[in-house]
């Protein structure tokens, strides 16, 4: 590591615990990709923090590390990966929102811990936690309220992923109508915003949503 320090001059590398942080000079920005390293927390720690078993964590990490040898995923890679799953439409907007939802410490990159935390909630969490996560996804500016504009953005992003080749062809204002339906269902006090409690309450009343929450547990 000190060799790296000497070699890259203005890069400052410190070893604290098991994470290495980097303060970059603007000149050395291009070296950023090469020099950033991220070592995750110890296996036992992650096992305690998440709801995965050791074996599952091992498999996940091996796959993750293979794809991203530097240990972190940035937004560009995220968008690329997501676009491979939805080739028919444009998934960049939704991937952006999803990235923000995973990047809990908002440092512009998703590390393995963020990844595991997110997956742990989505696959092994309680219904409450999952709904919380979903609310966090919809709440773009993270202010605790989902406004109609935010919902519309999300909706448009999801419909963009569908692409143009749908049958029947989706009309221009289908997202808007969908948002209206959503707000009618969720917004109890009709104040134009949906709070977390309103959201959770309305979802718990909906059987379909409750049932579908159980479906994705066996993904890993």
């Amino acid at each position: 590591m000190y060799v790296c320090f000497l070699f890259f001059g203005s890069d400052y590398i410190s070893i604290e615990g098991s994470t290495i942080t980097l303060e970059q000079d603007s000149v050395e920005d291009e070296m950023e990709i090469a020099t950033v390293r991220h070592r995750p927390e110890a296996l036992e720690l992650l096992e305690a923090q998440s709801k995965f078993t050791k074996k599952e964590l091992q498999i996940l990490y091996r796959g993750f590390k293979n794809e991203c040898p530097s240990g972190i995923v940035n937004e560009e890679t995220f968008k690329e990966i997501y676009s491979q799953f939805f080739p028919q439409g444009d998934s960049t907007t939704y991937a952006h929102f999803l990235f923000n939802a995973f990047d809990t410490d908002h440092n512009g990159s998703v590390s393995f811990e963020d990844f595991i935390m997110g997956l742990s909630i989505l696959l092994r969490g309680t219904v409450q936690e999952k709904l919380n996560w979903a609310f966090n996804l919809y709440d773009i500016n993270k202010d605790g309220y989902i406004t109609k504009e935010e919902m519309l953005d999300i909706m448009k992003a999801i419909y963009d992923m569908m692409g143009k080749c749908t049958y029947p062809v989706l009309k221009e204002d289908t997202p808007r109508q969908h948002v209206e339906t959503f707000f009618q269902k969720m917004d109890k006090n009709k104040d134009g915003v949906v709070t977390i409690d309103e959201f959770i309450e309305s979802c718990q009343k909906d059987e379909n949503i409750m049932r579908s929450m159980q479906l994705f547990e066996n993904v890993i």
């Binding site: 091996r62 293979n66 990966i81 999952k130 999801i158 959503f182 049932r211 929450m213």
Partner: protein, 607 residues
Amino acid sequence: MAAGVATWLPFARAAAVGWLPLAKKPIPKPPSDKRPRGDEILVVNVSGRRFQTWQNTLDRYPDTLLGSSEKEFFYDEDSQEYFFDRDPEIFRHVLNFYRTGHLHYPRHECIQAFDEELSFYGIIPELIGDCCLEEYRDRKKENAERLAEDEEAESATDLSLPPDSTVRQRLWRAFENPHTSTVALVFYYVTGFFIAVSVIANVVETIPCQPPPGRKRQQPCGDRFPLAFSCMDTACVLIFTGEYLLRLFAAPSRCRFLRSVMSIIDVVAILPYYIGLVMPENEDVSGAFVTLRVFRVFRIFKFSRHSQGLRILGYTLKSCASELGFLLFSLTMAIIIFATVMFYAEKGTRSTNFTSIPAAFWYTIVTMTTLGYGDMVPSTIAGKIFGSICSLSGVLVIALPVPVIVSNFSRIYHQNQRADKRRAQQKVRLARIRLAKSTTTNAFLHFKRNGGLQDLGSAAHALAVRNCSTFEQQHHHLLHCLEKTTVSGGVGLELGGGVGGSGGAGGLCGGRWGVGAGGLEREAGSQDSWVHSLSPSTSPSRSSLNAKAHENMMLHYDGLDLAAALTSIPTPPSNTPESRPPSPRALPNSSLPAPYLPHRMVKISSL
């Protein structure tokens, strides 16, 4: 799907939870996952080298051999591993592809071997990573070109005409490949001679000759001996015209022939003479006529049929047309610029040579090509400065495109060399291959001859079978079955003449002759008599003869010693079988009957 997408699928599926609260319709159930979720290490044994990898790694590319259930065909229960009988070096790269998602092409490997491995493992070459893709493509193109050349060379040297070829076809072949027949060769050399004569005559007729007695002024030889020169010219033109008409008649596609470069050169070479015949003798047109005579020098281009180097040069210039064009263009630009500058720099000087910009062109060209005749020199200081800049830049501008042209020429020249070498080796190579193939056929024939097809249990059968491998036995059985199916009445596969006789010297199975037979191709012409001399031999003496003849062959043909080979050739068919065994023993002394020997020698030298 691309690299590693399979890794991210669980994540994408998990993120689908984000859609659930928005769903208008109920979400469908996911497919049930029957496979155990554990990850295990697989052992892949490739020709003894053991590779170990996680199962997930191989699962990344489910449409390849290793990623799909196809690999189960190679599973070895006893050792609990997957065994592949392939090259371990290349497998390393294949496995790295699964691990990293990048397929690399190792430069030192043969491109075809690599391709074959890729197709075995079900990986398309388009997946090769960007770092190695260009190298791979270049090598592949080079290889394909070389193979195409090989095929072309083979088909080009396929000089055997169909038996019912017309006069026209034969004539065309004689023109295109002069070495096929003596007449064609003679014609080739005669035309070459006349081209030379014509060119030399053109040159000589302008040399000043001694004036005839009574005249003081020296005259060019052409005026001194007009009759001689015009006779020579007429003769040459007649021959060229005849040749052209014959070629036109023989050409398979007359339109294409008319458009080809060589025919245009031919026409241009003979046309001035005919135009001169037709033209009247008045003064006005004779000036133009004189210009036409210049075109007679084009006859020298007819030599390009005779010289491959000239053809290569012409082809190079054609293929470097763009570089030449660039050279010309940049030179023109520079000439105009410098001529303008020099003209204005020298304008003030009295009695200057630089009278106009076009006049300055000459100076610029002479200076840029570093000729420097000195007929025009600048006298002002500014003129001299610009003149020096002109000569320096001239060197640069000309030096730049030249290496490209040179490298092009070198490439084409080497290609031609290779093609020539290949053509020369082709005969030998084909003969060897034919020999190797024929030994297999003859193995069966001798197996049969030695009684291999008789009933099991006889002595002859046992003897014949002992020396053959299982494969050969089964092959012989197959040929025997074919015989029995098709032909009846005791007729079967028999020895043919020629090369087939090479295996005849021994009743051994084909494979053994591979080494010694290599030298036999030289003897191709003399095979017939050898075969005949051996075939009437009877069984008992055969084994002794076989042993000795085999010895002889191994002794002499390994060394390709022609003289010794001559002595070991058995005596002609007229000899009785009894006298034959002594002859191989007598090989230290050339005891071959004298009248026979010269006959042999003549035969071989004609090869």
